[in-house]
Amino acid sequence: MASGVKPRVKSPKTASAGEVVTLKTLISHPMESGQRKDSDGNVIPRSIINRFTCELNGNMVVDVTLEPAISTNPYFEFEAKVDATGEFKFTWYDDDGDVYEDIQAIEVA
């Protein structure tokens, strides 16, 4: 169980139909790469967020496969085209099986 993992999203509340908006996401996660060793010399096993997806009204915006070279507290910035009022769904998948989700409403003015 990864503790203290918290997702955060910066997304606009409103947009005009067809507008391209910028989304920023950040999740607090150590992204243990599997390269480090502990004081006894044993490899600390890999434990990372391995996938991040963003959907808008059920349509895929972006689906990211993460590998250990993504920095601690994974950060993504990308663009979405807003078609209709609804919601953005952001999902992060952890190696340990946990799934984190954040939902942000968007209204087409």
Binding site: S33, E55, M60, D63, I70, S71, F78
Partner: protein, 138 residues
Amino acid sequence: MKLTRRDALAWGLGATAVAMLPMRAFAAIEDSIAEFTGGAEAGSGDISLDAPEIAENGNTVPVSVAAPGAVAIRLFAAGNPTPGVATFNFGPAAGSQSASTRIRLAGTQDVIAIAQMEDGSFIQTAKTVKVTIGGCGG
């Protein structure tokens, strides 16, 4: 030795002139790229990669990629213990085929971005990032 296109790809050469070449694990990067492209050649095209020339810290290096019309963009760090960094798959609701993130670089090396286009072809670009090891603060 004749520099084949595959070699040029592995060495991170392409549309951008590369000042420095990666020092380790050429085989690993070649295999990693081949896994993504299925062995197809990646040519030059409308793909950009933004990365600092000198990274103040290798632990958190901001990078951006963009390839209009791409289905997916894969990022590699040629000198890392494992070269794969991330794959960005773009869907119908994407506003552009671009993304920014922060990555870890083990040392000075080439960062390579390869985009898979809708017609199944691949285009690529690379950038050398010098990673400094601090004086006293590090």
